[in-house]
Symmetry: C2
Subunit: 239 residues, 2 copies
Amino acid sequence: MNRKSKPIFKPYKKSSAHKYVSEMLKDYIISGVYSPGDQLPTEIELSQALGISRAATREGLRELESLGLITTVQGYKGGRFVKKINSDIILNGLDLLIKTQRASFDELMEARKAIEGITSKMAALNRSPENLEVMAKVIDLRVDSKEEFYRKTFELHEIVALASQNRVLYYIVQAIRKLIFQTYANLTLEENDVELVMKNHYDIYNSIKNRDPEAAEKAMINDIEAYRKLYLEVIKNKQ
Amino acid sequence: MNRKSKPIFKPYKKSSAHKYVSEMLKDYIISGVYSPGDQLPTEIELSQALGISRAATREGLRELESLGLITTVQGYKGGRFVKKINSDIILNGLDLLIKTQRASFDELMEARKAIEGITSKMAALNRSPENLEVMAKVIDLRVDSKEEFYRKTFELHEIVALASQNRVLYYIVQAIRKLIFQTYANLTLEENDVELVMKNHYDIYNSIKNRDPEAAEKAMINDIEAYRKLYLEVIKNKQ
DNA sequence: TTACATATTAATGTCTGACATAATTACGAT
DNA sequence: ATCGTAATTATGTCAGACATTAATATGTAA
């Protein structure tokens, strides 16, 4: 939405001012009045339109920022901008949950295996030809750089989850995977390990291509289990 | 933690003031310096200890509130209190995700079936005798009130997820179930429906008791699928 | 003595207006 | 043409005042 074609901002009466600001803007973002990339009115415009002080308006905007709905940019041409929503919006909460509950690495990996196994199974049933094409592009892991290896690995898992055609599961899988990679350091793999991962990825691709859900689930679980073991070895060697 | 035995609050230097407040307190909450139920210092105490204005301190506290880590109580004996963390902390994000992505009821139910099916399967392998005891208490659904019926239904699903012994899956299941019940109205069930749900619950209980993972998964999926169909019928009749 | 109405108290909630900081853009001197 | 500097415009922070809220303490009438 253009900054100039503003929606209607009704002055608030009851309830708390900061909450009024965040709730109203949240509704506008959810309903699509503001789209990702759009700039919100400035603090002063908002506060004047609503008849709320700038301080209370800022508190409301902070809430939205904390929820992951907007970003803040200071300076000339700065302002508040609506974010593109993705799995990051549950990542924060999941992270807090796991940290405060002291959930273990194994618990997280078990959850990942279970859910990503399901998406792999569903992908075998629901995958489109386009999904397969993208997968084919990222299963050759004989690459030069470590980064390239990780990028391709990440993309395969992403496209499998996407191919399940279930966005709820897709976002949950993405959040869990991101959480694992941001919490636990990446591995440095040996030559043998690369071979193994590549074989596993090929198995996943092949069973999804052949529309074999059971094989697809099994292959995915194998792949993640292999990663788990590799990671635990790294940990052991570090001690 | 007692309000009087305060942790150390180092005055901030760089980065933003409000962020310093929220990050610092978040770390204290995660690391257990503050436990659920504990009261944080008042805004004035905090701002004075950190050398930050009250306005900026409040913004930081709002962020924590928005994340779901603290609650705010106004008035005498009011203040900021650390919340007990549960699945609610991802519920918000999941809700936003589904609303903005316009994910369908069916997509959500598919996800629920898949994940809750898994927890049921895992419960059959990992359940404790205590888990079984609690389940036994809630599978008789021949009750007077609608509320009692819903309470028992909710508790059975809760204890099954808990019996999987995987807290990550448990919280995800809880969040999805809460989301479904808060987004889509509850059903009004006929006599026949109650019989059906009760049979399904009994199947779930029995297969978990017998440590039969495949049967447990199937029974859970049946139960949720039945709920989905009942709900869709209600929708159809309303039109 | 008890019960109800009222005052006190201590926290958050809100407002105002000023100044600080950041980052893009415009401009001017070399 | 380029580099450095000033202007612009958004958010960031501050200080101090007053409003609101809700538990508690107090006082008064039945």
